[in-house]
Amino acid sequence: MAEDLVLDTAIRDWVLIPLSVVMVLIGVLRYFVSKLMRSSQLPDAKIIKEGQVIIRARNLRAAANFIPAKSFRARKVYYSNEENGLLYVPKGQAQNAQAQMFSDPNMAMDMMKKNLSMIIPQTLTFAWVNFFFSGFVAAKIPFPLTQRFRSMLQNGIDLSTVDVSYVSSRSWYFLNFFGLRGLFSLILGEENAMDDTQRMMQMSGFGFDPSKSLSAEKDGLDIVQHDWALPKFEQRAEDVLRKLVS
């Protein structure tokens, strides 16, 4: 173990604290900028309707046994006939999400705005940290850690002899970056719980294609066997009443 490093107090005053403060300020600024740029996007009637059709068809599939066979058949035809059934998607019309995105410039614009408000400040702060504070230790955590934490805490320092409990300034940046969510929800209110990690998840779930789920629902509905549950209920009701009367 190497002897203890002595950290200059100037590092605390000029690196550690300014870095945290700057991160917080940038987070607040970004919140207000994105609030300014946010356009209230009107939902599309067709998309809403498709979502609702799916919910209704799912209900039908789940509770099919509770309605008489005639009613079930009528509904099944209504959903999945090949002419104008609600769940039937004509082959040519099934446009993929990519094409839809390009046909609708608003959507692309919205995404770009979201990305801009996220990426630009991040790149700038990262470049700033990298330029001014790269390559030295900025803090020490008061407990020892195993070697595995080296990549987490000593990003930017390629020395294997430094004790792992020292934190490099670039790692301090990352720790702040991911750890300030609680503080933000405290400062900016609960609705700002949308942090960067969540945003990234949202991005990955973007290419959602409603026509696919429509046809999946149609397939599910096609294989449902209708078995009316109500005759069983007469028996069960008898049992209930017998218990009640006796």
């Binding site: 309707k49 609702q52 009701a237």
Partner: protein
């Protein structure tokens, strides 16, 4: 659906606030969360908060939500002056807001100025044609004016898009029943059963409509749905018990003289008659003779 524990909690809080124990804001939050309609209490407690400058400023931005709630509750209680005050405050804070515009239209509606309200709603829906509340308010206007065909038409238009909204289906079903359009009502109740298969009230209403329609097949189906209601309520629903008896007697009359193969459900109606008798004995013994004579006339009690 509001669970039993939640309801208990609400009632306890309500009592506490009534008796000056504080917690008005928690009560209001709970009512909002559970979407209950207790307008008189919301109005009373909400105003007590809004009229106290210290409590009001403690709310922060929630003050405006409370103002909106109080306005709606006041309209429900016909305290139009209070509603007007609240809306005025909101208007000052959020000039040009759609949400406040909706409140204003609702105020017009509460005053009974149907044409003005309709105009206000249509100008609002121009900006956002998919606003569910506005669609529903328009249906309510048509219904309040007694203009049922228009109400049905707009409800249908609404359901074409928002077809998973079971409250709208229920409204439509009730309208159809009131117009004696039972076939259409049946469809709506089926839709309700599909969306919430464990709610006994929908089974009961479906059975009622089937029984009203009549015919052997419908009666048999109705009896089955009354039976499912009995099962789901644990035999506590008197209407379902009566329904089984009535269905059995009607089926008996229709199949009189024909082959009596349909024997399997024969226990159910006598059992429900017995359950009815027991229930009446416990809770209202003075009407017991009335019940037994009714059952006798249905040829059910032995």
């Amino acid at each position: 659906m509001v669970s039993k524990t939640e309801e208990e909690q609400v009632n306890r809080l309500e009592n506490q606030v009534e008796n000056g124990g504080g917690g008005a804001w928690e009560y209001l939050c709970l009512v909002r969360k559970l979407k209950l309609r207790r307008s008189d209490k919301v109005l009373k407690f909400g105003l007590s908060i809004l009229n106290d400058p210290k409590k009001r400023s403690a709310l922060g931005p929630e003050e405006w939500t409370l103002n909106e709630e109080v306005a709606v509750a006041a309209m429900d209680c016909q305290c139009l002056d209070v509603a007007k005050e609240s809306i005025k405050v909101l208007q000052k804070q959020f000039p040009g807001s759609k949400r406040v515009g909706r409140l204003e239209a609702m105020l017009l509606e509460a005053k009974g100025l149907w044409a003005e309200a309709e105009n206000a709603y249509s100008s609002l829906s121009e900006d956002n044609p998919l606003d569910q509340t506005i669609h529903k308010r328009r249906v309510a206007i048509a219904k309040a004016q007694g203009n049922i065909p228009i109400a049905i038409e707009s409800l249908n238009k609404y359901l074409e898009i928002f077809m998973a909204d079971h409250d709208a289906w229920r409204e439509l079903a009730e309208i159809y029943v009131s117009l004696q359009m039972y076939k259409q009502a049946l469809f709506c109740y089926e839709e309700l059963i599909l969306s919430q298969p464990t709610v006994p009230l929908y089974h009961l209403a479906y059975a009622d409509v089937l029984y009203t329609l009549g015919g052997l097949e419908n009666l048999q189906t109705a009896k089955k749905y009354y039976a499912s209601t009995i099962d789901l309520t644990g035999g506590k629903n008197t209407r379902a018990l009566f329904g089984v008896c009535l269905c059995a007697s009607a089926i008996g009359q229709l199949t009189k003289g024909r082959n009596k193969e349909d024997k399997e459900g024969s226990d159910l109606h006598s059992l429900s008659a017995m359950a009815l008798e027991k229930d009446y004995k416990q809770r209202n013994s003075s009407k017991l003779s009335l019940l037994s004579s009714t059952l006798k006339s249905l040829k059910l009690s032995s």
